[in-house]
Symmetry: C2
Subunit: 163 residues, 2 copies
DNA sequence: AGCTTTTTGCAAATGATTTGCAAAAAGCTA
DNA sequence: TAGCTTTTTGCAAATCATTTGCAAAAAGCT
């Protein structure tokens, strides 16, 4: 799964960015987890291998990597105000977040690409980036009667896959 | 355009919320501007008529009104970390934000509703809310050669309609 | 009018993200 | 590989939007 992608060093060089131990580490962690991590999450993982790494370094590098197209920012409705990232290599998909338990459901659909195409065609704009996310009640929570917009407290009934 | 919708007072009562001068004012301002306002923007407008209104009151009431379904939160990719609101009465539409000039293009499409329907059908979830937004370069900026992800500085070439 | 509950204004807290700065590391170049 | 220039790092303090605690004021009964 991670077999054919260039190493963090190569990707950094290819993008014309300096290769620092911190960047290499962050890229690798992002690759490995193949999941949505925010700066704090990345920081936690990173300091396990590089105890002196600083949170602001993580933020700064996420900005650099994003600018360079090496990572992509993902959005979750529930998590507005918190920025999540995935390696740019992951497949195009979208997210649904359960308001009750926090579970994240990933799904694919060609329709968003069509929306983008139509938007570009009809308005002459060039779409560079999209934020698409849904939230509501997942099947399990619905089954156990969770139908109303519940308290802000999220009680995971099952560990969300990205934790 | 605003002819047939119930007054702020009526809407508040119908939603089982207390009718306070502040809430009535905020709802009215939201109706009048028919545009995307954030808490700060609403606050600015509100204090012109009610100089002692407090920013935290605006925040608290936006939360209440949102919970009651009287206003809806809108999302702009560029504005992540800032919460925008529109009256719930406005038609379903989506936003494209120009990274270069800040212009907001509104557009409609039935495809998002289909995505939602498919998501619900295929995963058994109940979608309560969606965040759909696009960003990139608008036609005008493209015409004047703005094609790269420019600096954070946004130079409006034309006052965006919502200011 | 009197009583109870909700809301308000104010100030201070929060939480994520950013910034200034001097020291350290990266990427040349000779 | 040493020397030099530019970028990056760690740290602490700052910022910015949003939230919260609290006592006084207003709303909604009766």
């Amino acid at each position: 799964m991670t077999a054919s992608l260039p190493s963090p060093e190569e990707r950094l060089r290819a993008a014309g960015q300096r290769v620092t131990a911190q960047r290499v580490l962050l890229l690798r962690l992002l690759d490995e987890s193949k999941e949505h991590l925010d700066a704090e999450g990345l920081y936690e993982r990173a300091r396990r291998e590089m105890p002196d790494i600083n949170l602001s370094t993580v933020y700064r590098n996420l900005a650099v990597l994003k600018e360079a197209g090496l990572v992509e920012q993902r959005y979750f409705a529930r998590e507005h105000g918190r920025e999540y990232f995935e390696p740019s290599t992951s497949a195009e998909h979208y997210h649904f977040t359960c308001l009750s338990c926090g579970r994240v459901v990933e799904f694919e659909t060609p329709l968003i690409a069509r929306v983008r195409a139509e938007l570009q065609a009809r308005h002459g704009v060039r779409v560079r980036h999209a934020c698409i996310c849904f939230e509501g009640i997942c099947a399990d929570c619905a089954a156990r009667g969770q139908t109303v917009p519940p308290s802000k407290e999220i009680i995971p009934h099952d560990p969300p896959s990205h934790v």
